[in-house]
């Protein structure tokens, strides 16, 4: 049976206090509990089962004995004891299964001391992240596994966030876990040589989580908030655990600076608001300050990577009093640096949009025309939306209408469609007037 070592703080606590402590422990300690249990269980499924059982048993135990001083340590001990029981009981059977962890430490003298989470846990949590973000897993599986295993998000919520049915998402997660076990994807830290590539894969997953949550419109708003929070928590954890890798801080800075605009991303009808239309006084100044500090630290740590440079760009926007008063030449310069380390058509498109503000729409139009020939951008709605904006600002309402229509055909996001419809109406009604130029510029922020 479970005999957690922690002494209770008080007897007979209030049930709602226990429920709150448990919810808090799930948010902040799930990865810690699970990752420490995987070492004992040697298998993700068993570890997950034991961790879930530990949370269930905690409800009763904490109601009876009080909330422990260190809920994470209590839960870890409970989960690991369950895993030890199961491994011993099923010993013969389990020996036939491929074990995830080299030399599984199934003894009480395990080097991981659950009572000293600060000393022992970081490695385990990183192991879990790097396993879930392993490059041999399909990208969508990495995202789903990270949410499920590292963040403890229920499969039903993950399914809703990615707009697939729950059985589809469950199958995706099961398939990935099966591959980890059958193909023996190791539960370990990448070595020095592998770390940059593996870290990039992990950071990309966290960024994708955040972007999915941050893109307004389709889906459940609460689930999307949950994704943003989970991504921020993960980015924070990675920056804490691997501070020597500047890109971890770059990603945290990028997420903080982007998340500072969360409240102003949409209007009261859920319609997407562009940077130009957002009420900058409602941006979260605390998040901006922290984001700028973290980003400055990352920038000072040597040649900046792609997340650090994107954070720096977000930082320029965050401190600008308005779109017009933004330091656009600096934004263009940062995009130039970004293209050097991460040459993708989407980055080039964003750079062209920045050039339109730094040097005028006429200077950016040829850049877009060139990008339009890239097959990777053919189905990309932002290319057409940006082109529509440039043409609108140049007074070519007919051209702008064509481009907005093309963008409309390519986006499924309700908020984005509503925005494009509004733009279409503007260029449509302006077409007959003498001066069709709309004074206010449009900015797409792609983060």
């Amino acid at each position: 049976m479970i005999t957690p070592s922690d002494e209770p703080t008080a007897s007979a606590p209030r049930a709602d206090a226990v429920a709150a402590a448990l919810a808090q422990a799930h948010r902040s300690e799930w990865a810690f509990v699970l990752s420490a249990t995987v070492r004992v269980a040697g298998d993700l499924d068993l570890a997950e089962e034991c961790a879930q059982e530990a949370y269930v048993s905690a409800l009763q135990a904490w109601n009876r004995d009080g909330i422990p001083h260190r809920p994470g340590a209590w839960l870890t001990t409970a989960a690991r004891n369950r895993a030890l029981d199961r491994v011993r009981r099923d010993g013969t059977f389990r020996r036939k299964l491929p074990l995830l962890v080299e030399a599984v430490t199934v003894d009480a003298n395990d080097s991981t001391d659950p009572d000293r989470p600060d000393a022992a846990v970081p490695d385990d949590r990183l192991r879990l992240v790097f396993t879930c973000c392993h490059p041999t897993l399909a990208p969508e599986a990495r995202v789903a596994l990270t949410l499920r295993l590292v963040c403890g998000v229920p499969t039903s919520d993950i399914a809703r966030a990615f707009l697939v049915s729950e059985p589809t998402m469950a199958a995706r997660i099961t398939r990935a876990k099966k591959k980890i076990s059958a193909a023996r994807i190791p539960y370990r830290m990448p070595d020095r040589a592998e770390l940059p590539e593996r870290l990039d894969s992990a950071l990309t997953v966290v960024h994708l989580l955040f972007s999915t949550g941050h893109t307004a419109g389709d889906g459940d708003a609460l689930v999307r908030e949950e994704l943003c929070d989970a991504a921020l928590h993960l980015a924070r954890t990675l920056a804490e655990l691997l501070p020597e890798r500047a890109e971890t801080r770059g990603l945290l800075g990028l997420l903080l600076l982007t998340d500072a605009r969360r409240a102003t991303r949409t209007d009261e009808h859920g319609r997407l608001l562009l940077l130009a239309d957002q009420d900058r006084t409602r941006w979260d100044q605390r998040a901006i300050l922290e984001g700028l500090t973290v980003t400055a630290g990352a920038l000072a740590s040597g040649p900046p990577g792609r997340f650090t440079l994107q954070a720096a760009i977000a930082g320029v926007h965050a401190i600008a009093p308005s779109v017009e008063a933004t330091d656009w030449p600096r934004v263009v310069h940062l995009y130039d640096l970004l293209l050097d380390v991460w040459n993708t058509p989407v980055v080039a498109l964003n750079r062209a949009a920045a050039v339109a503000f730094a040097d005028g729409p006429a200077a950016a139009l040829p850049l877009l025309d060139e990008l339009a020939t890239d097959p990777r951008l053919v189905d990309y709605p932002y290319l057409h939306a940006t082109r529509g904006d440039l043409l609108r600002r140049l007074g070519d309402n007919a051209g702008a209408t064509r481009s907005y229509r093309q963008a409309m055909e390519l986006t499924a996001n309700a908020a984005e469609r509503a925005f494009l419809e509004q733009r279409l109406a503007e260029v449509g009604s302006a077409a007959g007037t003498e001066n069709g130029r709309s004074p206010e510029p449009t900015v797409r922020d792609f983060f």
């Binding site: 036939k96 299964l97 491929p98 080299e102 392993h134 041999t136 059958a182 193909a183 023996r184 994807i185 190791p186 592998e194």
Partner: protein, 118 residues
């Protein structure tokens, strides 16, 4: 250690148009590879080079016998190695060195048939 099959998928035309010197170099490359497997801490449990798919005969459903490979693809299975590696990362490190001039390789874990892996 776990066994992995390294399946070599190549475009046969690469071999059809290969000069004798290039062929000799390829044979050397495979012999170097077999040494590299051990140098990397793995070991070799087997392997074979296969004759072109033009020599293949397929038997479907236990009765229908047809000329040609089971599935027609641009890159065809041309040979395989059976290696022993610590984990998938180790197997991939090994697989990256496997010569496959007309395509690439696929890494598949080998299973213990006493349990259904599906």
């Amino acid at each position: 250690m776990t066994q992995y099959a390294i399946l070599i998928y190549d475009d046969p035309t690469v071999y059809e148009t290969m000069s004798p010197e290039a062929w000799a170099a390829l044979v050397d490359a495979h012999s170097t590879f077999t040494q590299q497997v051990f140098a990397l801490g793995g070991s070799l449990a087997g392997g074979a080079a296969l004759a072109p798919t033009t020599t293949a005969t397929s038997v479907k459903g236990g009765s229908t016998v047809t000329d040609g490979p089971f599935v027609e693809t641009k890159e065809a299975l041309g040979g395989f190695y059976l290696v022993e590696a610590r984990d998938l990362d180790h197997a991939i490190e090994i697989a990256k060195l496997c010569p496959a001039p007309g395509g690439g390789v696929e890494v598949r874990p080998v299973v213990d048939p006493t349990a259904n892996p599906y």
